[in-house]
């Protein structure tokens, strides 16, 4: 990154200081539940913040909304119920774990602001259905915004840095920002959509180097109905492939994403491409590790990789852990919570593990 590219300084968004209401992500819980646990631990233990993990929360219906099986008014009222839970718990700062949810909330609040009659109608419908009332949050921030905001406070607590211990050089990192973080409403994202800085800021503060490759802003290819329906998945893998081919010449050490779906696709599609075409993008047959920003942060803070859930990734992370110099117990990787040794996963035909 050169000095003349630091446009994000003009685009800083407001991120609340404390007292957050956390909403979990369907995709994050499904694929990387350890990341949500790590985020709560980072906020409570490392930063001493207050964050509520509400038992009565539920899906925002965002995936259903963008795959056209949930009408706008239904999604608005479901979102209103989540805001009602926040209101009843005495919070004003809403923190959705999912980037799709973040986009849904920002879009809905924008619609309510543009046309207050939509907000009134939603209040009526929510009350009719549940007898609940709500306030619109004062602040909506994605969890990656919060980690970004406090990144310098976290730095002295970290045991490791994003530096290759064999060469002493910064690790080369691909940052991938979920489309709905800033493409819908650019001023809601740190650095806006064209010069995203929410993850780049973390990487640079913690010793790494961000790769500014040609397809940096391209979608991972989720596409909602383009992945949900099995026969459409060619769309999804083709878009990830386009990104992998674009980043390959820059020899990234790992990919970090702020969107639950993107992290998963950029991991699993590498396996699929390796099995279909015997092609990997790291030059060694293992693939490029694809991490969540919570996993990246947790690893640097010294959290156990297997408690973070890194064994749930198809592209293996050990080469990256070794590069950073992170201590880990290889024998604990496939152990259950009670210590029972579980059978190892089957090996892929082509992708090395």
């Amino acid at each position: 990154m050169t000095e003349n590219k630091r446009f994000w300084n003009e685009y800083q968004k407001e991120i609340a200081e404390d007292h957050y209401f956390y909403e979990r992500s369907c995709i994050r819980q499904t694929f990387f539940p350890g990341s949500e646990a790590a985020f709560l631990k980072i906020l409570r233990t490392e930063l001493g913040k207050d964050i509520r993990d509400e038992v009565n929360q539920h899906t925002c219906t965002g995936i259903g909304y963008h795959s056209d099986i949930v009408p706008l008014q239904t999604t608005m009222t479901i979102v209103a119920r989540l805001f009602a839970l926040m209101t009843e718990a005495g919070y004003k700062n809403y923190v959705p774990s999912c980037v799709t949810s973040f986009g849904v909330f920002t879009e809905i609040c924008h619609l309510w602001e543009e046309d207050p009659s939509l907000l009134d109608k939603t209040r009526e419908l929510l009350y009719k259905a549940t007898k609940r009332e709500f306030i619109v949050p004062e602040n909506i921030a994605h969890p990656s915004d919060i980690v970004y905001k406090f990144r310098e406070q976290l730095t002295p607590r970290m045991k490791y840095r994003l530096v290759n211990r064999y060469t002493g050089k910064p690790l080369r990192v691909v940052d991938h920002i979920g489309c709905h973080y800033a493409k819908i409403f650019p001023d809601k994202g740190v650095g806006k959509a064209e010069f995203p800085y929410v993850l780049a800021g973390m990487v640079e503060s913690w010793g790494g180097e961000v790769i500014d490759y040609p397809e940096r802003r391209h979608c991972c290819g989720f596409g909602f109905r383009q992945y949900i329906v099995q026969e459409n998945r060619g769309y999804s893998v083709a878009n990830s492939k386009k990104k992998f081919e674009s980043m390959e010449p820059y020899e990234p050490d790992f990919i970090v994403s702020n969107c639950p779906g993107c992290t998963m696709f950029l991991d699993k599609w590498q396996y699929t491409i390796a099995e279909m075409e015997n092609k990997t993008y790291d030059g060694h047959g293992y693939g490029i590790p694809s991490l969540t920003y919570e996993e990246m942060t947790g690893l640097l803070l010294g959290y156990d990789p297997w408690e973070l859930g890194l064994q749930l990734h198809q592209v293996q992370v050990e080469p990256l852990l070794d590069k950073i110099g992170i201590a880990y117990d290889p024998g604990a990787k496939y152990r259950a919570a009670d210590g029972t040794i579980l059978p190892n996963p089957d090996k892929p035909h082509n992708l090395l593990v």
Partner: protein, 202 residues
């Protein structure tokens, strides 16, 4: 302007989705779907903007409107601040309301999505959940996913999840009182009506 054109314009999102397209094609240039499918958001905006009902009906019955991946890259780049992907959301809504989605192969996929994702939302309160993603239907997830599903009860607590548990946490069972409220919201707001429309004549 005909009835279909007016139906599109009645959607509260229409005003900010399409106001003054000048057909520059920036949306098509940036669109991942245009690169993969025979798809051109510029043409769609043009058709909608012209307001000819016969053309719009053909569009609503076609595969074309189902190609968009909803990344919204078009909204970021449009020099006029339009959002072709939002226009698509409105077209798909009207296509389903009118029953036109049944005329195209891609449109008929809505039945599967409604059964799968719609069922997940109404039955367990999640859009997606490991219990609803069997390895047989998701071979692209790889053998680690197969391993996780086979051992999830033993692995989930290790990674901080509360799989099928009560109380807060990832993958908890959502309380029945909450599920009742979700279903009631769907009934009051048109969610159930759309569900019945899409699933009729399966």
């Amino acid at each position: 302007m005909g009835n279909l054109s007016n139906l599109l314009k009645q959607d509260p999102r229409f005003h900010s989705a399409l106001t003054s397209c000048m057909n520059c094609g920036m949306c098509t240039a940036i669109c991942p779907a245009a690169e993969f499918y025979d798809y051109d958001p510029r043409k769609i905006c043009d058709m909608v903007q012209r307001g000819d009902d016969e053309t719009i009906e053909q569009l609503l019955k076609s595969d074309t409107i189902w190609y968009c991946g909803q990344c919204l890259s078009c909204k970021t780049r449009c020099p006029r601040g339009n959002a072709p992907a939002e226009v698509i959301l409105i077209l798909r809504k009207v296509s389903q309301e009118m029953g036109y989605f049944r005329f195209s192969e891609k449109g008929r996929q809505q039945v599967e999505i409604m059964e799968h994702i719609g069922g997940n939302i109404l039955e367990i309160g999640y859009c997606v959940h490991p219990d609803r993603m069997p390895y047989e239907k998701h071979p692209e997830q790889g053998p680690v996913w197969d391993w996780y599903l086979k051992n999830i009860e033993k692995v989930a607590p290790k990674v901080g999840a509360n799989y099928h548990g009560t109380g807060p946490g990832a993958l908890r069972t959502i309380p029945e009182e909450t599920m009742e409220e979700i279903r009631k919201i769907f009934e009051e707001t048109g969610g159930m009506e759309l569900r019945h429309k899409v699933l009729i004549d399966r």
